[in-house]
C-alpha cells in the first residue's frame, strides 16, 4: 500500500496507525513562525470506532490503509454471520458480530447498506439513513391524540426500541432515522 506524506492529509484519508486502519476526521497544520511544523490530526480507528488525536512532524510519511466502502444488500443472518450481496455481481460477503455492531437493529432484508472492507474483510456496517420497520409491541394509544405529547416506546421487528406518537399501533410500519433513532412517520401500506 502506498504511503502518504502529511501534505496529503485530509478528511477521509485512510491510514494505518498503531496497526489499525484509521480514517482522518480533521487535519490541522500547526506551524510556529520560527519552528518545526506539526500536523494535528483527529482520527477514528475503524475497527474499534475509537476517536483520538495524534500529531505528526510535518513532512513525515504514513502508510495508507487498504480500506474501501462498498454498497451491498442485506440478505439474512445465520446467527453467527450477517450475509450481504452485491446486487450486480451477486457476490456475497459475510460480516461478523463485531463488524455489524449497532447496525444490527436496523438491518432490513434487501436494504442497501455500506460495508467498510479492510484487506477485503468487512470491519464495519452502516445501515441506510432511513429504514422502514413494523411495530411488534407498544402500549395501546389514547384516542384523539394526533400530535403526541412525548409519545411512548415501541419495539420493532428487529428488536430496536424507538419513541413513537401515542396514536401509532402494533402492526403498523414506521420510518426511522437510523442516525438518531428518531421516529420519522408512518408508512402507508
Amino acid at each position: 500500500m502506498a504511503s502518504f506524506s502529511t501534505n496529503q492529509f485530509k478528511a477521509g484519508l485512510k491510514l494505518m496507525i498503531d496497526g489499525e486502519p484509521c480514517n482522518i476526521l480533521e487535519n490541522e497544520i500547526v506551524k510556529p513562525g520560527k519552528g518545526q511544523a506539526f500536523n494535528r490530526v483527529k482520527i477514528r480507528k475503524l475497527v474499534s470506532g475509537k476517536v483520538l488525536e495524534k500529531t505528526f512532524k510535518s513532512g513525515e510519511s504514513v502508510e495508507g490503509a487498504d480500506v474501501m466502502d462498498i454498497e451491498l444488500a442485506y440478505l439474512y443472518s445465520d446467527g453467527e454471520f450477517w450475509h450481504f450481496m452485491n446486487n450486480e455481481t451477486f457476490e456475497q460477503v459475510a460480516a461478523d458480530e463485531k463488524a455489524v455492531a449497532d447496525a444490527v437493529k436496523w438491518l432490513v432484508e434487501n436494504d442497501v447498506c455500506t460495508l467498510t472492507l479492510w484487506n477485503n474483510n468487512p470491519i464495519a456496517v452502516s445501515p441506510p439513513n432511513f429504514v422502514e420497520l413494523e411495530i411488534t409491541e407498544t402500549d395501546p394509544g389514547l384516542k384523539g391524540d394526533t400530535a403526541g405529547t412525548g409519545g411512548k416506546p415501541a419495539t420493532l421487528t428487529t428488536g430496536a426500541v424507538v419513541r413513537v406518537p401515542l396514536f401509532v399501533q402494533i402492526g403498523e410500519v414506521i420510518k426511522v432515522d437510523t442516525r438518531t433513532g428518531d421516529y420519522v412517520g408512518r408508512v402507508q401500506k
Binding site: I29, P32, Q36, K54, T55, F56
Partner: protein, 331 residues
C-alpha cells in the same frame, strides 16, 4: 472556481482595515517603504523555506537563483542602516509550506522598525495597534519561562531533553516525540499544542459570551530560539525575542534587533549546519545584510504581524481563505 474565496463585503472591510493600519503609522511619523519581493538572497532558517525561481537575464550571462521573500526583514534593515529612521511596510511574503486554516503560502505581512525602541517598547506599541484596529483589550505580558510554569508546571530553561520526554509522555503517546533529539522541537510542540490554544483565555465566566480572549505577549524566548534577537545581558539563557498570541493564534514575532555582524554571521552558519544535519540544502548567506550590520544598524526593535490572521480574528472568520480574495487553490 473562478469566484473569490472571500465575500466582496469582507474584502471591502479588509481594505478599510488595512487603511486604518497605515493611518496608525502615518500619524506617528513612521513612513511606509517598499522593498523587493523578489530577492537575490534568502533566509537560512531550519524551518522556513522560500520559493525559488530563476532569473535568465543577469548581465553576466548566467542564469541565477532568485527567491520570493519570506519577510522584508533583511531589506528593511539595510534601509535602517542607510539612515531611514522609523519605517513600516505592508507587503506580500511567501513561504514554501502547506496551506491550512491559518496558512496560505502567499500572505500579507506588516513589518515595522523603531530606532531607539527595545522589545518592551515595541510590544507596547503593538498592544496599542491591537486596541485601535481590532478593539482588543490591553494585552497580557508573560515570559516564555513563566508561561510554561503557569500552564505546564515546569521550567523550560532548566529542563533537559530526557526530562522533556517524560513530561511530554503525560500529554501524548506519539512515538516520534520520544525519538526526537532537538529539545526546542519538544518545547515548540508543548507550546503549540498545550499553551497557545488557551493563552489569554478567560474561561471562568458564567455564560459563553462572557468568556473572553485577551492578546498575550510571550517574551524572553530561550537563547536557542533567539533567531535575529539580541541575547539578554541580564540572563543569557534568554533572548530579546517576543511573540503575540490572540484567540489561540500566533500573530506576531518581534526582536530587539541583533546589531553585531560577527554574531549574525555565526547564527547564519549555525542555521546552515542544522540544515545540513536535517538533510536540507544549505542556503547562501545574505552578504548585503552582513555589510549593512558592519556599517552600523541603529539600536532598534522590529516586529512582523500576519495581517490576514489579524483580519480573520477581527471578523470572526474561521479560515484564512475567507480573509483573502483568492487562496492558493484559486490563485
Amino acid at each position: 472556481m473562478w469566484q473569490p474565496t472571500a465575500s466582496i463585503e469582507t474584502l471591502k472591510n479588509r481594505a478599510l482595515f488595512i487603511a486604518s493600519i497605515r493611518q496608525f503609522f502615518t500619524a506617528r511619523g513612521v513612513w511606509e517603504v517598499e522593498t523587493p519581493i523578489l530577492s537575490n538572497n534568502t533566509i537560512t532558517d531550519l524551518h522556513l523555506d522560500a520559493f525559488e525561481t530563476q532569473f535568465d537575464f543577469d548581465t553576466n550571462g548566467q542564469a541565477k537563483s532568485v527567491f520570493l521573500q519570506t519577510s522584508p526583514e533583511f531589506a528593511m534593515k539595510r534601509l535602517l542602516a542607510a539612515g531611514s529612521g522609523a519605517i513600516f511596510q505592508i507587503n506580500k511574503a511567501f513561504r514554501h509550506e502547506a496551506a491550512g486554516r491559518f496558512h496560505n503560502p502567499e500572505f500579507t505581512m506588516l513589518e515595522w522598525y523603531r530606532p531607539g525602541f527595545d522589545d518592551q517598547q515595541l510590544m507596547a506599541e503593538l498592544d496599542e495597534l491591537m486596541q485601535l484596529t481590532v478593539d482588543a483589550k490591553p494585552a497580557l505580558y508573560l515570559s516564555y519561562q513563566q508561561a510554561f510554569i503557569n500552564y505546564l508546571s515546569f521550567d523550560p530553561l532548566t529542563t533537559n531533553l530526557e526530562q522533556l520526554k517524560l513530561i511530554i509522555a503525560e500529554h501524548s503517546n506519539d512515538e516520534w516525540l520520544q525519538q526526537e533529539s532537538n529539545p526546542d522541537t519538544l518545547l515548540q510542540w508543548l507550546f503549540s499544542m498545550k499553551i497557545e490554544p488557551v493563552l489569554g483565555y478567560k474561561e471562568q465566566a458564567y455564560e459563553e459570551k462572557d468568556k473572553q480572549w485577551t492578546p498575550c505577549f510571550i517574551y524572553n524566548f530561550p537563547a536557542s530560539q533567539a533567531s535575529l534577537a539580541k541575547i539578554n545581558q541580564q540572563d543569557k539563557r534568554v533572548a530579546h525575542r517576543f511573540e503575540l498570541y490572540y484567540q489561540g493564534v500566533e500573530l506576531a514575532n518581534g526582536f530587539y534587533e541583533l546589531q553585531d555582524k560577527a554574531e549574525q554571521q555565526k547564527r547564519f552558519e549555525n542555521d546552515n549546519q542544522l540544515r545540513a544535519q536535517a538533510g536540507l540544502t544549505q542556503k547562501p548567506v545574505d552578504e548585503n545584510l552582513l555589510s549593512a550590520l558592519e556599517s552600523g544598524l541603529p539600536d532598534c526593535a522590529g516586529v512582523a504581524v500576519g495581517i490576514d490572521r489579524l483580519f480573520m480574528l477581527k471578523y470572526n472568520l474561521t479560515h484564512i481563505n475567507q480573509a483573502i480574495a483568492f487562496d492558493v487553490n484559486r490563485a
